[in-house]
């Protein structure tokens, strides 16, 4: 198991380097002169030229990329063009909010969706199943930023039940959680239902029932454990979407997280912030994916057995 985890970590490094390369390159070749952006239209050519030299913007592409990577490894993402603040510090200050929102949304969605998906699979074609299926169809189709606006109108402005903006405590979390959660819930429900439907028809489920196992154990242990892999895969992917989707949710609810920070810098063309924000969220996504891969090893004995000593070689040779 340890070797499996180590291998996954090592495999992540080239991907992350690639991500830095891709994001840096896309933004590097964007038109516009950063020095001019910083100084504004009133600055003279000479001032712009001096600042470019000072920031190393006149160096060749390779040198700049290498320097960015070097600084990145030291945790330095440069300084904002807009207010000269350290991007890393600003990100560090904001990312807990974004991570908390994403984690809570996914947790909330996953718990509700897995329970609903299981019940809906056991009682296929019942009223409950139809409601769940209908909900998941709608949930996948609702743009979450619009759902957020609708909830604000109804819950905050009409009924005055919950605050419409900010992120200062559990009361503020509810609307963003629902807004974020509905879409993820819909997806997880669908996959739980179809994955469970596939599994509960297998012979070993009949065997488990035949030997007199209690139904709840049959469902949760025998069936769910075999159906969980695609569910975990989807949850991992949705976590990535939740991190990216933060730009929308945080805009709608004025939550002072990484997403809002990113959106605010886009219009100002504040490249270091955009670059740092996107990279940071991509890294976070990478870490989440690593966690998902480790969970695979935990849930799927076929994976962990590949990495057990002695047996490993034989199994892998067989797989080939």
């Amino acid at each position: 198991m340890f070797r499996y985890v180590l291998r996954r970590i090592l495999m992540m490094i080239p991907v992350l380097l690639g991500v830095v390369f891709v994001i840096f390159s896309i933004l590097y070749f964007s038109p516009g002169d950063p020095a001019r952006t910083i100084l504004g239209v009133t600055a003279t050519e000479q001032e712009v030229e001096m600042l470019s030299e000072e920031l190393g913007l006149n160096d060749p592409y390779g040198v700049q990329l290498f320097r960015y990577l070097q600084n990145l490894l030291r945790g330095d993402m440069g300084r904002s063009y807009k207010n000269n603040k350290s991007v890393s510090a600003e990100i560090m200050q904001r990312f807990p909010t974004t991570l908390l929102l994403a984690t809570l949304s996914i947790l909330f969605a996953a718990i509700v969706a897995i329970i609903a998906g299981i019940i809906s699979a056991i009682r296929q074609y019942s009223i409950f199943d139809n409601v769940v299926t209908g909900f998941s169809l709608l949930g996948i189709s609702i743009p979450n930023f619009w759902l957020g606006l609708m909830l604000i109108i109804l819950v905050s402005l009409q009924w005055r039940l919950l605050p419409a903006s900010g992120f200062y405590g559990p009361k503020y979390w509810i609307l963003p959680l629902i807004t974020n959660g509905v879409g993820y819930m819909a997806g997880i429900m669908r996959i739980t239902r179809s994955s469970m439907l596939e599994v509960i028809r297998q012979d070993y489920i009949r065997t488990a029932r035949a030997k007199g196992q209690r139904e709840i154990i049959v469902i949760l242990k025998h069936a769910l454990r075999n159906a969980i892999i695609p569910i975990i895969t989807l949850i991992g992917l949705q976590f990535g979407r939740a991190l990216g989707g933060a730009v929308l949710i945080e805009t709608v609810f004025a939550i002072p997280g990484l997403g809002k920070y990113l959106v605010d810098s886009i219009s100002a063309k504040d490249i270091p912030v955009i670059q740092g924000g996107v990279l940071f969220l991509a890294f976070l996504f990478g870490v989440v994916n690593l966690g998902v891969d480790i969970l695979y090893g935990f849930f799927d004995p076929r994976i962990s057995s590949q990495y057990k000593r002695n047996k490993g070689k034989a199994v892998r040779a067989h797989a080939k």
């Binding site: 080239p14 991907v15 992350l16 690639g18 991500v19 390369f21 891709v22 994001i23 896309i26 933004l27 070749f29 964007s30 038109p31 169809l137 709608l138 996948i140 189709s141 609702i142 743009p143 930023f145 619009w146 759902l147 606006l149 609708m150 604000i152 109108i153 402005l157 179809s194 439907l197 596939e198 990535g240 979407r241 991190l243 990216g244 989707g245 730009v247 929308l248 805009t251 990113l262 959106v263 886009i266 219009s267 063309k269 490249i271 955009i274 996107v278 969220l281 991509a282 996504f285 990478g286 994916n289």
Partner: protein
């Protein structure tokens, strides 16, 4: 000889697609999706005829009108008719959806087909490169590309198209892998076909089913991404009507005039719902084995 072969092939295709259509027609959900999508498309195509007002016609005497017989969906902050703007906005959204999917299916499909067909080092090189793109959440990749290129319709299509290249490549690659060992591929190779001919004339027609399903579902996602990017100010610029941009502009007035944000959102939802229903129906119709 040639002609008989042609007719045989077309007859087989005919019955294959026809039986898929028959299965699709049986699914009420899929037909509902198809009908809804057709209505949205017709509304967008004939916006010039249907829309009661031009999309940029401002009437400052009639700002913030609630829905009425004169303005079905009401008017916005500068007195533009929201119903008309939604019809025209449909043009923008559907175009973006269609063209960005064409971009991703062309690039992603070719890369996936090459990776799957050749395998080995080529496969590794292509798929590891795409893994890098896959490691960046799609909307963030799109934001980065639009930031670099600047806002605008074409850049938006490109950004959204590129960000869904990896998923197409993966699906096409997996499908190619599942058919490339079959006898007809061997037969084509023995009869002297070159690789390009084998891939595009023999393999690709055999994996159309998953591609069509993915195109439908991916179009829904693209339309959603486009409106999301417009919502945060990166997409279509005013006065061009776009559903996401309309939501963003209407946000300031939700306290008193919630209808301004209600209808554009419903339009996005209806479009995505129709494509999702259709895509699910197509999946069941084109591949009966997958059906539970």
């Amino acid at each position: 000889m040639q002609s008989r072969e042609e007719t045989n092939r077309s007859r087989k295709n005919y019955s294959l697609w026809l039986s898929a259509w028959r299965r699709l027609r049986k699914s009420r959900m899929a037909m509902f999706g198809l009908a809804l999508f057709a209505i949205i498309c017709l509304g967008a195509i004939f916006a010039d005829v249907i829309a009661p007002y031009p999309y940029d016609f401002q009437n400052l005497d009639e700002t913030f009108q609630f829905p009425s017989a004169k303005h079905w969906f009401g008017t916005d902050s500068v007195g533009r008719d929201i119903f008309s703007r939604i019809l025209y906005g449909g043009r923008v959204s559907l175009q973006i959806g269609l063209i960005s999917v064409l971009i991703s299916v062309t690039i992603g499909g070719s890369l996936g087909a090459i990776a799957g067909y050749y395998g080995g080092k080529t496969d590794n090189l292509i798929m590891r490169t795409l893994d890098i793109l896959l490691a960046i959440p799609a909307i963030l990749l799109a934001i980065t590309i639009v930031t670099a290129l600047g806002p605008g319709m074409f850049n938006l299509m490109l950004a959204i198209g590129v960000s869904s290249v990896p998923s197409f490549a993966r699906i096409v690659r997996a499908s190619i892998l599942s058919v490339k060992e079959q006898e007809f591929v061997e037969a084509a190779r023995l009869s002297g076909c070159n690789d390009a001919h084998i891939i595009f004339s023999h393999l690709v027609p055999n994996i159309m089913a998953p591609i069509i399903v993915q195109v439908t579902l991916s179009m829904a996602l693209s339309i959603l991404s486009a409106s999301s990017l417009s919502f945060i100010g990166l997409g279509i610029q005013p006065p061009m009507p776009e559903w996401g941009a309309m939501l963003s502009a209407g946000r300031a007035y939700i306290r008193n005039y919630s209808h301004i944000v209600l209808f554009p959102g419903l339009a996005i939802m209806a479009t995505i719902l129709s494509l999702n229903l259709l895509g699910d129906g197509l999946r069941d119709a084109l591949d009966p084995r997958l059906k539970n």
